[in-house]
Amino acid sequence: MQAKLRIRRFNPETDKKPWWGEYTLDEVLRTDTVLDLLHRVKWEQDGTLTLRRSCAHGVCGSDAMRINGANALACKTLVKELGVKNDVVKIQVEPILGLTVEKDLLVDMEPFFDHYRSVMPYFVTDTPVPADGRERLQSPEDRARFDDTTKCILCAACTTSCPSFWADGRYVGPAAIVQAHRFIFDSRDEAAGERLDVLADTFGVWRCRTIFNCTNACPREIKVTEAIAEVKMAITSGRV
């Protein structure tokens, strides 16, 4: 079958404005991923096409992009999911929104990681290590509370699908809240108050208008909006 790709291109050294590049590929399989097709464009047609990818198997979170108008990982999106008609698939690929485009599909992730760092995404405790020198144990029920949010791979698909983040990049964004949730609700961690103070700020969780774009965008199927709601309730009730 055939794939017709429309890719948002921008080279800051030669282009004043972004433009659409159109590429046709033959002998495409229904089980090819969008990343496979982007590789073929880069390797067979235009070597200047710039994109981020690393593991190509949905684990590293490098290749989040806007595919047919919705954020997804290029390596997890199959051709057959994109509406094949008469043995032709039309695919539009753009960089994720809300972050500065550096070249083609590559955006500056630094503002995203600044928000990530702001919520202290690491284990904090003053309690000495257990006497046996082994793990800090917790019950399966305590572990289950933050199980969902451990799945985040920091691909930014959620944060860059959020209109609140598009409107004002100072909003900490769903990904940082998910990462904070993973530690706030960990019974072994002792810095929940400091993280919640960051998230109770004007540009914290209150910017979330519960529209669920993040939940739809998450390639790991994390219930992002639910995690944000739990953080809002933790701030409101003073309990975690």
């Binding site: 144990l137 917790q138 399966p140 029920e141 509370r145 004002d168 919640l196 409101t236 003073g238 975690v240």
Partner: protein, 135 residues
């Protein structure tokens, strides 16, 4: 193999955290609670004024008859206290998404805040002191 601690089987550990006081949290809570309250107040108001009693019959005499009892005055004052701050806070949230300048944001918050306080005080007095015997 290490045993899983039996300290709290089947229960989750709930901890208390001390947070700095924050007006954003108070507003967020107000928006939720006033929203629930208005589900009854605003919808009830519309049903009573415009459906049970047709809009065509909605005259000053009808309102005066309602406001001759403290129950109806209290209903409308409560609706006023919920609706005006809820609506204006919602407007401020939307404006705040797109106005990034800190000075402009402060100016808008002051203008809208004065509007809310003035409207709520003025309308509360208007309803509370309404004299039904003159209509």
């Amino acid at each position: 193999m290490a045993a899983i601690p039996s300290k709290t089987p089947g229960k989750i550990t709930v901890r208390r955290v001390k947070l700095e006081r924050n007006y954003e949290r108070a507003f967020w809570l107000f928006m939720r609670l006033s929203g629930v309250a208005m589900l009854f107040l605003a919808v009830g108001h519309m049903v009573i004024q415009h459906i049970v009693n047709s809009s065509a019959n909605l005259t000053i005499q009808f309102v005066a008859a309602q406001w001759s009892t403290w129950g109806w005055k209290a209903f409308d004052i409560l609706l006023l206290w919920m609706a005006i701050p809820h609506g204006i806070r919602g407007l401020f949230n939307i404006l705040g998404d797109y106005i990034h300048n800190a000075g402009a944001r402060r100016l808008i918050s002051i203008v809208l805040g004065v509007f809310v306080v003035a409207t709520v005080i003025w309308a509360t007095f208007a309803i509370a002191l309404f004299d039904s015997t003159r209509f």
